[in-house]
Amino acid sequence: MYEFEFVKPGSVADAVTALGEEDAQVLGGGQTLIPTLKQRLASPGKLVSLAGIAEMQGVSTDDAGRICVGGGTVHADVAANAGGYPALAGLAGNIGDPAVRARGTIGGSLANNDPSACYPAAALASGASIVTNAREIAADDYFQGMFTTALDEGEIITEVKFPVPEAANYQKFEQPASRFALVGVFVAKYADGVRVAVTGASQEGVFRWRAAEAALSADFSADAVPEAPAADGMISDLHGTAAYRAHLVAVLTRRAVAACG
């Protein structure tokens, strides 16, 4: 990797200041950025690590009953401590391998918005609020396409608030090499309706499968899941065609609903 400066501020405010400098780059758990640096595909002048910010750590419950995860919380901590939202804890506990879960953070995953990452599906299906140093962004407004989000330059995800559904389940079909989601479907049933978020499948990144949401809101059963969505706009690569991914969206949605019991 190229040379860079490294700072590890102790507060969000200090991190924001540090990120104001030219060529500064935020570092979450580094599960994407460090390999990118090692491949010399990025050359930030300064890395601003969020790992030392205590106020961004941990899982709690707010007055509204939402599960609140600090932006710097690693997957292993969510898996262990988000028992109030079992589907979320289960998702976190099945990201990558133990080494990844010990370092990777929820804020890093959502900020990167990899089209095959797991967390975007949870956030979008849950209608989560993405809290930053500057504002609170609804998940529906946050995800704006592959590797694209509503975050401004230097904006830091400090917390993610998940309304807890009546029932939820995440089904991941793993790409055999990377074990990222070839397709992942998160189904969350709330009192006011069902939300279905799909990762891994679309060229536009995570998306809500509205047809399934409508059908499941009317009848929350696996049999109610519609036929597979159109393959147009789905990812096609050496691991699966667009048609295969579209097919898996429906299969995994059915399985997620069935698993909700």
Binding site: R40, F173, P176, A177, H247
Partner: protein, 787 residues
């Protein structure tokens, strides 16, 4: 009662103490005082003409010692090819030049253009980025059939085409095979791909060149399976260094799987550059470099036809294969699709006539060469797949069809030029049927179906030619090397032994298994025997380890040398006991005089050899050290029968392996635990090939599967626990240990049964699918189910 020492015992591997505790001495662990580091600037296009390489700015970068380009290697030899195949018309293959650094053109992504030597690896990499390369990109040739079409871009401008050779075997049988096809009651045809693989040893390649100006000696430390072969190829053909001025050391090597047999340009570069700058030069491949510079494996496109008579006897086999050579000929590349492949096309069956046609093709891809099994997996896969397809077409049991056609009398001369010395194919199939619990399959299938899954069972046999190889025979076939093996056995004064072997261990456990043989022969404890390998300075000229040859050939050399030791020791013992040499017996480390109670211990004799006060100096020399070279009379022919049971999720196409059983005949076995491990590892690689691994290029020659993000290696949860059985043993008749070799069997024997099982599962679910190419990924299965 299993033995607790000697041949047939399973002592734990003594080398694992250092491997498992981080105390191994791998090439990258070696640092030579004053070493500089090299970074190779590699082509990012698959095919292009180099107009200019401007190193001016890069040379001024911090820490840069010197930058080398192809021009520095003008007048230096290219990388040699170790095997010349003669084509159907009696003409030698087309053999392109293979420069150490690209000259004029780049021919695959990863082809090295320039090399920067600097004080640190990072500085070398920084400077490499500053080299200005003007490359005119040319159309890339990736598909083999397109490469042979008229008007195709040529990978090598000075060759007549992209055809390396068009090989026919046995050419004289061509017409007879055609006649048999016409006369057949049934012909089954199958077109298939044997997928390109990347070997991925855990340790990437490393090379360190060192030059001693005072002695004019060069030393190369390298990750090699055969240091003497590297010394000969690099010294004689590339750099012009005689053997006595060149030492090659291959210390602990973290897995080879074939891809560390070959002589690579990076080795020659480090040796060359060390002399040029008078400093040691070190190179450690990144994993990304390994993907685009280690020789790949397999990559055949094949059409096979199997002819049967009305009684389902096999009457002929005909195959046509396109074999990818990549952009250059790697060291043994031409031999893999020919002599290591065509000679196995009779399989375990008494098919009277066989014709094999192989077209080897140059493409703008990484060179392809031997990978665990090398040619034999490709032969086994197509034959065992087409037999399964024939059984299905004819509505007969696939095991019964195989049994009906088994060779049962040995020795057996096949129609493809080899003679199987021993085997018992019914015996291994009997063993398989027991361990695979075939009778319980239907119940297991019903249980799977109750859960909405399809279950399939696939069986295959295999035969391989190992113990490579009789030198006079391979010489006739085009090998430019002998394939004997060597051993020096040095007995120390106090009775311990050091065996210097030409074999090389890169995970096989020779340091444990070889002493078991010597301990058995002398009747001493294994701990008295130490194995030395991997350094041309202290081992006799040997050919190294590949082709499941170490015990069969290297072990035989060791036995021969030990026999010489014992013969001499008996002479000494006879003198010490004032008895006739003919009356001396050796048992449990004691020399005794037959019919008396007189005896002397092994240690007394060895001491006498080095302190020859009471010694027959007029008849024999002091000391106890002997060398033997062993050249095998024939290949060995391990064989076996494998069974795979899969479960298939019809909704997603995902296949999981539920049971895997392997019954092998390896002849005599020295260490059953190590043999189990070799079989386990081989099956793991075979399952990897069958379900997961696929090296993929796009039409522009860009490597799409260029990292573990896209190249799927098998992981622990991808493979089941294996049932293995070695009880069927027909010892090899022509080597002193009666051993056949076990290193490649698992990789050769496992892919067909996996695919056969997948097809069986799909058919059981009413899906009319007759073939799916490997890797049998969920997406491919699902697509096949859609019709």
């Amino acid at each position: 009662m299993p033995k607790d020492h000697g041949i047939g015992a399973s002592p734990k591997r003594r080398e694992d103490i250092r491997f498992l505790t981080g105390a191994g001495n791998y090439t990258d662990d070696i640092n030579v005082n004053g070493q500089a580091y090299v970074h190779f600037l590699r082509s990012d296009v698959a095919h292009g003409r180099i107009n200019a390489v401007n190193t001016g700015a890069a040379a001024a970068m911090p820490g840069v010692v010197r930058i080398f380009t192809g021009a520095d290697f003008e007048g230096v030899g290219g990388l040699p090819c170790g095997w010349c195949v003669t084509d159907r018309h009696g003409e030698p293959m087309q053999e392109p030049a293979h420069p150490v650094l690209a000259q004029g053109k780049v021919r695959h992504v990863g082809d090295p253009i320039a090399a920067v030597v600097a004080e640190t690896a990072e500085q070398a990499r920084d400077a490499a980025e500053a080299i200005e390369v003007d490359i005119e990109e040319l159309p890339a040739v990736v598909d083999m059939k397109a490469a042979l079409a008229d008007g195709s871009t040529k990978v090598h401008d000075d060759l007549t085409s992209n055809l390396c050779y068009d090989w026919g075997f046995v050419e004289e049988n061509k017409d007879a095979v055609e006649q048999a096809m016409q006369d057949a009651a049934h012909v089954t045809t199958l077109e298939l791909v044997n997928n390109r693989l990347i070997a991925n040893p855990m340790e990437p390649r490393v090379a360190i060149g060192d030059y001693n100006r005072a002695t004019d000696e060069s030393t190369l430390y390298t990750t090699s399976q055969n240091p003497h072969v590297i010394r000969l190829l690099m010294g004689a053909f590339v750099l012009g260094i005689p053997e006595h001025k060149l030492r090659v050391i291959a210390p602990d090597v973290g897995g080879g799987f074939g891809t560390k047999i070959f002589h690579y340009g990076e080795e020659a570069f480090c040796t060359f550059a060390a002399k040029a700058i008078n400093r040691p030069v070190k190179w450690t491949a990144s994993r990304s470099e390994a993907f685009m510079s280690d020789a790949h494996g397999r990559d055949h496109v094949t059409r096979i036809e199997l002819a049967l008579d009305k009684d389902n006897n096999f009457t002929a086999v005909r195959t046509e294969t396109y074999a990818n050579m990549g952009a250059y000929l790697s060291t043994f590349a031409p031999s893999v699709p020919t002599w290591l492949h065509g000679t196995l096309m009779a399989g375990n069956y008494k098919t009277p006539v066989v014709y094999v046609n192989v077209k080897a093709v140059f493409t703008n891809t990484v060179p392809v060469d031997a990978y665990r099994g090398a040619g034999r997996p490709e032969a086994t896969f197509q034959l065992e797949r087409v037999i399964d397809k024939a059984a299905r077409e004819l509505g007969v049991d696939p095991i019964a069809l195989r049994r009906q056609n088994f060779i049962t009398e040995f020795p057996y001369a096949t129609p493809v030029a080899v003679e199987y010395d021993t085997g018992d194919y019914h015996g291994t199939m009997d063993a398989l049927e027991k361990i695979a619990d075939l009778s319980g399959f239907e119940a297991r299938r019903k249980e799977s179906e109750a859960r909405g899954k399809l279950r399939g069972l696939g069986v295959n046999c295999y035969i391989e030619a190992c113990g490579i190889a009789p030198s006079n025979l391979v010489g006739q076939l085009g090998a430019r090397a002998g394939l004997y093996e060597s051993a020096t056995v040095r007995v120390n004064a106090t009775g311990g032994l050091v065996v210097m072997t030409g074999s090389h261990s890169h995970g096989q456990g020779h340091e444990t298994s070889f002493p078991q043989v010597i301990a058995e022969m002398i009747g001493i404890d294994e701990s008295m025997v130490e194995i030395v390998h991997g350094d041309t300075a202290n081992t006799p000229m040997g050919m190294g380890t590949y082709g499941s040859r170490s015990l069969a050939v290297g072990g035989s050399a060791m036995v021969r040398a030990t026999e010489k030791i014992i013969n001499k020791a008996k002479k000494i013992a006879a003198h010490l006991m004032e008895a006739a040499e003919a009356d001396i017996e050796l048992k449990d480390g004691q020399f005794s005089v037959a019919g008396t109670d007189k005896s002397v211990a092994w240690g007394d004799v060895t001491l006498a050899a080095y302190v020859p006060h009471n010694y027959p100096l007029e008849d024999i020399e002091p000391g106890l050290e002997e060398t033997a070279f062993y050249d095998p009379a024939n290949f060995t022919y391990p064989s076996g029968a494998y069974c795979c049971e899969v479960e298939l999720d019809p909704e997603t196409g995902k296949v999981t392996i539920e049971r895997f059983s392997a019954a092998d005949d390896f002849g005599n076995i020295v260490n059953p635990m190590i043999v189990d491990g070799q079989v386990h590892g081989g099956i793991g690689q075979g399952i990897g090939q069958a379900l997961l691994e696929g090296c993929v290029y796009d039409e522009n020659g860009q490597l799409l599967s260029a990292s573990y993000m896209d190249y799927a290696m098998p992981r622990a949860d991808d493979v089941p626990f294996y049932n293995v059985d070695h009880s069927s043993q027909t010892p090899c008749t022509h080597n002193p240990l009666g051993v056949k070799g076990c290193g490649e069997a698992g990789a050769i024997g496992s892919p067909p049964s996996v695919v056969n099982a997948v097809i069986d599962a799909l058919q059981s679910g009413g899906h009319d699918v007759t073939h799916i190419d490997m890797p049998v990924s969920p997406g491919r299965v699902w697509a096949a189910m859609q019709g």
